[in-house]
Amino acid sequence: GPGDDDRHCSKRRVTSSSTRRHSKAEDISSFSQKRCIAWFREYTTPDDPDTLGPEGMEKFCEDIGVEPENVVMLVLAWKMNARQMGFFTLQEWTKGLTELQCDTHTKVQNKLDYLKSFLHEPSTFKSIYRYAYDFARDKDQRSMDMETARAMLQLLLGRQWSLYSQFNNFLEQSKYKVINKDQWCNILEFSRSIQSDLMNYDVDGAWPVMLDEFVEWLKAAREQTGKGSSSGKGS
């Protein structure tokens, strides 16, 4: 991939550990706001020079060598405090990238591991998770539609929550068409605090009804398979 090439380049130049583009060697190591804005304009059109839209986004992802669905893109958006999925405004771009001290795609590439590390810190993860709700939501609606919600949950909890696939199945068969913010936030709390055997789940707790129903559904499903397997053993 392009990342490998860049790393080769930087080795050949034998400079410091930070990477640079060989074409502009002079003072490329230091951050330049001007260069940052100029880079932004590479992805915008003259009709709307201050908004980076879906097409620009696709190109940007290609340049930094990341799939648009990669969770690191969410972290980057979170760093920029981008309001709407699929778009960066000039203001969001400069604020976020100034903080990261990035004005080239290589610099961003080198920050990817750093960005990913935010996901491992529980309190930062929580704020990224909560940010994701407003970021991905259709701004005309108060709640998030189910398709988007399931995609975002897959992205954020798919690997780390042992009950994720069951929860996803539950949503699929349920009558819910949207997820509201309270439900969204409580899904994370639930995934963090409730054991996969559900032993520490309290019916009288304040969980949203959706999660009560999930527990009921899961218990019923497990009883079914439990019966099936025990009778299977018997025969």
Binding site: N180, K181, D182, E189, G205, A206, P208, V209
Partner: protein, 746 residues
């Protein structure tokens, strides 16, 4: 005589005094003059000169009494062991009376000499002084003290064993009546000898008599209980025990001091009831299930006497009533379901209420059990997913009592039944559902003039108000007001017509009903082009009304209206009361004898299903003829006026079919109830959170349940959904540091 102190010769004076003292304590004949002289002698000795001789008098008197009592002891003993009680008692009667007299003879010594030395109560309580054991006593007390030491102490073991034997014989059914007074007298002497003591407890009595008595009683009843249990079944046992308890109560009164009564009762109960509580409780079930009232009446006071003993019986009674109630409503089927349902429940309630009053003396814990059982039966859901039907059935029950059709029962009977229905009403959890159904049915009765009596209607609403408060019946009252205001309005309108010389061509009257108070659905209104014959009335009234009430909007509920139509094309004239849409259809046949359904539809601008439904009703009562009765009506069907229509009656009503409740209507009502509940719960949650600001989840749930229980019992998940929707609407939020705490957002 002189009161002046003088020198007195003690020995001489005491010798004469001693003789009188002997006479007094043996109740001998002491002449008044002698008494007076000796009384003065006591005074003289106490104040004698040069030194008072009171202390010496005291000591001599004491030793005299000691000798006297020792003499009496010998006498009592000499009468032999078998007559011990009688002999002791005789001596005691004489001596105790004599001591009372002696006390009076020594009045001066008592009041001046002895009381003066005594410590006051305040000194005993607050001072650091301990009462001196050698302290002198007043003569009365001294005499009793001497009796206690010199008579009771040596004899007590024998006395008590004779007493206990006497009581034992009494218990065994061999009472010796001549001994009763003696035994009681002896027992009471143990109390009397200490009557000068300040203490409340008769200590001597308790020590030498009561303790062995209670022990003996306990043993007796323990044996008695096990003997009875071998001989009797439980019913007989309870009977015998009850009898024993009563006998022992009377025996206590005959023999022992009042302070012992509760103790001996407790002993009996301990050994005859509490020790066998398990047995008695194990019999509760069959007694209750078989409703053995006599046994239950015996069992009740027995179990009541033991702490915690009654609870098993209470819960058995509750389960039984629940069972009987469930059975009573299980087999009911048919059109009359609501009547049978309510009356069966009432029968069960009345039966067990009577039983509780008679057998358990109306004990409140049993009344509570009855209430709990009834609540459980009344609010049972045959299927957890569907709402309970009791509210609807009760409203229907009231409806059929209040409707004109309820023939054959008198007004007082109807009133009594309505009164009874409040009993069931109080048990209903979903009172809001009852209210919804009731108001729908009331609306129908009022609009279609089906009420039997307005007084009965109002009386019922007052009863509901009493049971559930003003808020609950507010709308019902407003409906009533509308009806009476409408009567006035019609009078005014008719006067207006007269004054303006307007002829509407028909008789016209109208109800004006406030939106909001009536359970009428604006959305179900269908378009309708009013027949020409009625149009003038409608318009004239609208003009009249708007002139009188500027700014009010009138909406016509034609589907609720009716008219009398006179049919002149038949052999006989008929006057038929029909629904307005039916009338509008009939009026179309004024100029023609046949017409297609589609033409009717066009002329009246009613929706197709409404049209077809009303045409079908006219075909059903044979006013119209359909081309082919076996086929369903369609827009193309050609309708014919039935020129051969005939009926025995010339005045009749065909609106009945239109008034009936459809299943959808019940469903609509249930939905409306649910919507109201959500609003109610959200309002309650907001009110609570507004005053509390921050509240834990469970506390909020409890408060909401507490507030709503007057009108309905919401499910927890319904409350939770309302909380969530308020979070979503940003009235509330979860506090950041605790997952189950909410915060009000101002």
């Amino acid at each position: 005589m002189s009161l002046k102190p003088k020198t007195v010769d003690f020995n001489q004076t005491w010798d004469t005094l001693q003789e009188t003292v002997r006479g007094v304590v043996t109740l001998g004949n002491v002449p008044r003059a002698i008494w007076n002289d000796r009384f003065s002698d006591v005074y003289s000795l106490c104040v004698s000169f040069p030194e008072p001789l009171a202390d010496r008098l005291y000591l001599e008197t004491k030793s005299f009494l000691e000798n006297h009592v020792r003499g009496l002891l010998e006498l009592v003993r000499s009468k032999g062991e078998t007559s011990l009680l009688q002999a002791y008692h005789a001596s005691w009667v004489e001596y105790s009376q004599g001591i009372i007299y002696l006390h009076r003879l020594y009045l001066y010594l008592n009041t001046q000499h002895i009381r003066g030395q005594k410590l006051s109560e305040a000194e005993i309580i607050y001072g650091n002084v301990t009462p001196n054991a050698e302290e002198q006593m007043e003569i009365g007390e001294l005499g009793l003290e001497v009796w206690k030491r010199e008579m009771i102490k040596p004899l007590q073991a024998n006395l008590v064993s004779h007493i206990l034997e006497g009581i034992q014989q009494d218990r065994l059914g061999n009472p010796s009546h001549h001994l009763t007074d003696v035994i009681r007298g002896v027992i009471m002497s143990f109390v009397s000898v200490e009557e000068y003591r300040k203490s409340q407890n008769p200590e001597l009595y308790q020590e030498i008599f009561e303790a062995p008595f209670l022990k003996a009683s306990g043993e007796f009843y323990k044996r008695e209980a096990s003997k009875l249990l071998q001989e009797c079944d439980v019913s007989q046992y309870m009977e015998k025990v009850t009898q024993r308890l009563e006998e022992e109560r009377l025996r206590s009164q005959r023999f022992v001091h009042v302070s012992t009564h509760p103790k001996v009762k407790a002993k009996c109960e301990q050994h005859m009831v509490a020790d066998h509580l398990g047995l008695l409780q194990s019999e509760c079930h069959s007694m209750v299930v078989q409703e053995r009232e006599r046994d239950l009446a015996l069992l009740y006071p027995l179990l009541r006497s033991v702490q915690g003993g009654i609870s098993v019986l209470i819960s058995e009674v509750m389960e039984h009533i629940k069972q009987k109630g469930t059975e009573a409503i299980a087999g009911i089927r048919g059109d009359n379901y609501h009547v049978l349902f309510i009356e069966s429940l009432l029968a069960v309630h009345n039966k067990y209420r009577t039983l509780i009053l008679n057998v358990f003396h109306g004990d409140l814990s049993f009344i509570g059990a009855l209430d709990k059982a009834c609540i459980s039966v009344v609010n049972t859901r045959p299927n957890p997913k569907t709402p309970c039907r009791s509210p609807e059935l009760l409203a229907k029950y009231c409806d059929c009592l209040l409707k004109k059709s309820s023939k054959g029962i008198s007004d007082t009977e109807i009133d009594e039944k309505l009164f009874q229905s409040i009993t069931i009403f109080k048990y209903i959890d979903d009172k809001d559902a009852f209210q919804k159904f009731y108001s729908r049915m009331l609306a129908k009765r009022l609009i279609h003039q089906q009420s039997q009596s307005m007084d009965a209607e109002e009386a019922m609403i007052d009863r509901l108000k009493q049971a559930c408060g003003y808020e609950f019946t507010n709308k019902l009252h407003r409906m009533f007001t509308d009806i009476s205001l409408s009567t006035d309005l019609n009078v005014k309108f008719n006067a207006h017509l007269k004054a303006e010389s307007i002829d509407l061509g028909i008789n016209f009257s109208i109800y004006v009903l406030q939106a909001g108070a009536w359970p009428l659905n604006l959305t179900s209104l269908s378009t309708f082009s009013v027949p020409q014959e009625l149009e003038k009335s409608v318009q004239t009234f609208e003009t009249f009304y708007h002139k009188n009430f500027n700014g009010r909007k009138l909406t016509w509920f034609h589907h609720l209206c009716q008219g009398d139509l006179k049919l002149g094309y038949l052999k006989k004239p008929y006057i038929i009361t029909m629904q307005t849409f039916q009338m509008a259809i009939m009026l179309l046949f004024e100029d023609t004898n046949e017409m297609a359904c589609s033409e009717v539809e066009q002329a009246l601008k009613l929706s197709q299903d409404v049209i077809l439904k009303h045409i079908a009703s006219l075909i059903d009562c044979k006013l119209l003829l359909s081309p082919d009765p076996s086929e369903n009506l369609t827009s193309e069907s050609i309708l014919k006026l039935n020129m051969d229509y005939s009926n025995k009656r010339t005045k009749l009503r065909i609106t009945a079919a239109m008034v009936r409740d459809s299943p959808q209507e019940v469903e609509h009502t249930m939905n409306a109830i649910n919507e109201d509940r959500k609003l109610y719960l959200q309002a309650a949650i907001v009110r609570i959170m507004k005053s509390r600001r921050v509240l834990r989840h469970n506390a909020l749930i409890q408060e909401v349940l507490g507030q709503s229980k007057v009108t309905f019992a919401p499910s927890i998940s319904m409350i939770k959904k309302c909380i969530e929707s308020l979070i979503d609407k940003q009235y509330l939020e979860r506090t950041p540091n605790s997952p189950d705490e909410y915060m009000y957002i101002a």
